[in-house]
């Protein structure tokens, strides 16, 4: 395929993905908006007003970046895992597999579909948060880079999950038993400085803590972790998961008989 043809194939997958999640917006875009409003009302306004400042900011300002990041990463993951697994389940993935579309275009197309939903939900949640607090952007580049890379990372993870999944249960196990606990313990609602020293050391091994804090640094200028480590770790994880995704497509594991 020429580069132009590959571009067309990429846009086709991306367009299909965007069309899919906008067609079922009641399942994809509305729930995170409602959930985040509840978080803002309960944790931000009702409980947050009694907690006081955290890291020099009001509690609602402190949790807003974490809540945005939580919505972005869970939706990026959910989009690719459910879409690709559905395609596998209905065998419509064969439409792409029999075509000359190169593997990297298939992977990029689905990942960018996940990023598109992650960004759409992130934008909705950001707009919602403006109803409750003022948002600051301390460092534009870091904010955008971290949110994009996190979305790419979780889209890749969702793709790998979908390839290995044999049933719809298999694509809900990781979000329920791994992603949600890691996110809740990932510094979305608190600074790890509040934890006993032992748990501070344990928390450092939680990758989501680094993403949330790097994003919070981009918005508020405060962080519990080293930004350079978050950048490097995120980039390495994206590269590793991309290589795994390409390997799965190349070998046809769980996709070709």
């Amino acid at each position: 395929m020429s580069l132009q043809e590959q571009w067309i194939a990429f846009l086709t997958i991306l367009h299909k993905e965007i069309k899919r999640f906008t067609r079922i917006w009641i399942q994809t875009l509305l729930p995170p908006a409602i959930t985040m409003v509840l978080y803002f009302v309960i944790f931000g306004k009702l409980i947050g007003s009694r907690i006081g400042d955290m890291g020099g900011f009001s509690y609602i300002e402190f949790v807003a970046p974490g809540l945005i990041m939580m919505a972005v990463l869970t939706n990026s993951y959910a989009n690719v895992s459910s879409s690709f697994f559905s395609a596998k389940f209905q065998r419509s993935v064969e439409e792409i597999l029999v075509s000359p579309t190169p593997n990297y275009i298939i992977l990029l197309g689905y990942v960018m579909g996940g990023v598109a939903r992650g960004m759409a939900v992130g934008l909705i949640v950001t707009l919602m948060s403006l109803c409750f607090t003022d948002l600051h952007i301390h460092h534009w580049f870091i904010t955008i880079f971290i949110v994009l890379m996190t979305s790419v990372l979780f889209s890749l993870a969702g793709f790998i999950n979908a390839v290995y999944a044999n049933s719809f249960d298999d694509i809900s196990i990781v979000p329920t038993f791994i992603l949600t606990p890691l996110t809740y313990f990932g510094g979305v609602f608190y600074s790890i400085n509040l934890l006993p020293e032992f748990w501070q050391h344990v928390s450092v091994f939680n990758p989501i803590l680094h993403m949330v804090n790097a994003f919070r640094y981009g918005m508020l200028g405060i962080t519990d972790v080293h930004i350079g480590l978050a950048f490097t770790g995120l980039t390495i994880c994206v590269v590793v998961l991309f290589i795994i995704g390409m390997h799965l497509l190349k070998t046809g594991k769980r996709l070709r008989a």
Binding site: K16, Q90, S92, E94, V98, P100, R256
Partner: protein
């Protein structure tokens, strides 16, 4: 001339246990209308799966118009359109979107994709259903949708895996007509089918696959010439009291109103009618017993089974 499809020593072993294809070789020439016949589990769908890259071959070489599917996969796949046996599109998407997306996966620019989608949806009588979600289509429409989708990038080789399975007779005939037209326009067609009448009616050449090997690869015409017997069914007026005694012919009762007679190929039926009249039988209608190719097919597959069974016994002893 470069074959439209060339298979060399194609082998497929599933889970290191079951050998679905035992090194088949086959050439299909450009412009041909080729049938791949075989009983269930013979290896037809595995062969198609390997050609379309949905099944990983164990060994062997596949070339589409001289392009190797491993080394020149991009060009080889552009030559190829595949209509699988099972429905494999998203049931939630609209008919038009499914075909347009397939055009996109082949890199067709949007304008061209729109024109070709309209062309094939119209040719397959699906244009009025273009905004309908695929799940709302009837079984026949879904089959036609898969054909439109396979043709949208205008492949030179179209492979159809049992395209008319479960389709009513009227629709089957109209699909045959459509396939004849695109074959006449230059598209090489390979189809697998269980309807041997379909192969006899449409195809020029045929390969019979059984237990992972090609037991026959020849023209339909020469295959049919191998038949030296024909069976006719005679329906009588009233109940059949006794079977006629026809010298030199095998006669068997079918039901209380009809019987069958085996006749050598090319032999006149006058003598049969004369004897039936003499013996007081009043014939009200007559027809061929079954598809002729079917008889040959069953004979060949049975012969192959006997051969395999004998070989197995030899190994065991």
């Amino acid at each position: 001339m470069t074959p439209a499809l060339s298979l060399r020593n194609l082998r497929k072993v599933y889970n290191e246990k079951f050998e679905a294809l035992k090194g088949i070789s086959l050439d299909v020439m450009p412009g041909d209308f080729f049938a791949m016949l075989g009983p269930n589990g013979a290896g037809k769908s595995t062969t198609i799966g390997i050609i379309s890259s949905l099944v990983r071959k164990t060994s062997g070489v596949v070339e589409v118009f001289g392009k190797n599917i491993d080394t020149d996969f991009s060009i080889a796949k552009k030559y190829l359109g595949v209509v699988p046996q099972e429905f494999n599109f998203s049931m939630f998407e609209k008919v038009e979107d499914i075909v347009l997306q397939q055009a996109g996966y082949y890199g067709l620019p949007r304008k061209q994709a729109v024109v070709q989608t309209e062309k094939y949806l119209k040719q397959l009588s699906l244009w009025d259903k273009r905004q309908t979600p695929a799940r709302m289509l009837s079984g026949g429409m879904k089959r036609r949708l898969m054909i439109a989708r396979a043709l949208v990038h205008e492949p030179q080789l179209l492979i159809l895996d049992e395209p008319t399975a479960g389709v009513d007779i009227e629709l089957r005939r109209s699909m045959w007509e459509f396939l004849r037209e695109i074959n006449a326009a230059g598209t090489t067609i390979i189809l697998t089918t269980h309807y041997l009448e379909e192969a006899e009616s449409l195809c020029r050449n045929v390969a019979i696959i059984d237990q992972g090997v090609i037991v026959k690869n020849t023209s339909v015409k020469s295959l049919l010439q191998q038949l030296n017997k024909e069976v006719f069914i005679f329906d009588v007026s009233g109940d059949l009291q006794a079977l006629p005694n026809l010298q030199g012919h095998r006669v068997a009762q079918i039901d209380e109103h009809s019987f069958e007679v085996e006749v050598d190929k090319g032999q006149s039926l006058n003598a049969v009618f004369s004897q039936l009249t003499t013996q007081g039988f009043e014939i009200v209608s007559m027809r061929n017993k079954s598809n002729r190719l079917e008889e040959l097919f069953v004979a060949m597959v049975n012969a192959n089974k006997d051969l395999a069974s004998a070989a197995q016994k030899e190994v065991q002893s």
